[in-house]
Symmetry: C2
Subunit: 154 residues, 2 copies
């Protein structure tokens, strides 16, 4: 019973799917993080701005939390921060006073646009070295994998 195979056939570290996903993500983000830091944005804050860019309709916090994989309390504080910095706007839904609606402000949109070229440069870099079709196929596979309902936690 050695270290490599003794743990009830636990896969080798190199073959771990979560680690492979994390490693690939780190490789893709390494260049990008310093740029976010220059704009005083955390990775999570960027995800929120990025999610808001994806739609031209205001989004409710609950939906935003799902799309960005953030917990509601984390998002709530982040929205206060982003609103204080003038990057987003909040309004109250007309049909239900409990619901908020979040959207990018022009300043927020400008910030995303300022950061976007560097993001695109990284993509071009990946596409050149990895291949456009190969990257597209990888994205499709990742999408399919995530769509598998692996079941709720027991």
């Amino acid at each position: 019973m050695d270290a490599m195979s003794g743990s009830g056939t636990l896969r080798p570290f190199e073959q771990s799917l979560p680690m492979a996903l994390l490693r690939a993500r780190e490789a893709a983000m390494r260049r990008f993080r310093p740029l976010l830091a220059e704009h005083d944005l955390t990775e999570q804050q960027w995800r929120v701005l990025r999610a808001l860019t994806a739609t031209d309709r205001p989004v409710e916090p609950t939906i935003l939390a799902e799309r960005t994989f953030l917990l509601a309390p984390s998002l709530s504080r982040m929205l206060s921060n982003l609103e204080g910095r003038g990057l987003i706007r909040r309004s109250v839904a007309a049909h239900d006073q409990r619901r908020s609606l979040i959207e990018l402000s022009p300043t927020g949109r400008a910030l995303v646009q300022a950061v976007a070229p560097s993001s695109e440069a990284t993509y071009r870099h990946i596409e050149e070295r990895f291949g456009v079709d190969r990257l597209q196929h990888l994205l499709d596979e990742l999408h399919d994998l995530a769509a598998l309902d692996l079941g709720e936690p027991t």
Copy 2:
């Protein structure tokens, strides 16, 4: 210049590689996290134990930090914690008194083995629904992507 295409051709949120990687990782981890919590382990602590399982030789903290994508100060505090719980052992390298050597204790190894079956169950679940060959190909592609030197942060 609308919200979808106005940001200097920023890719749609759905096509974002870091988001796709995060989404897939969340899908794979969702089942697993509660099990870690039952054993009072964070995701990062699990990565450390998991990395130590992958080798039967003691590992220096610097190497461990690289492999687990943790910063040295974070790892340093975690190692104190894990040592206090009797899950790892530390020793000093004979040839260089500055260097530490970290390895799993028998208790730590037993803990990994206790958690492993659930990890394997998730893999079997994925393999059944996604396909063994398809999963292997995905892992290979992720490995190649991470190996691309996308350059140091500017």
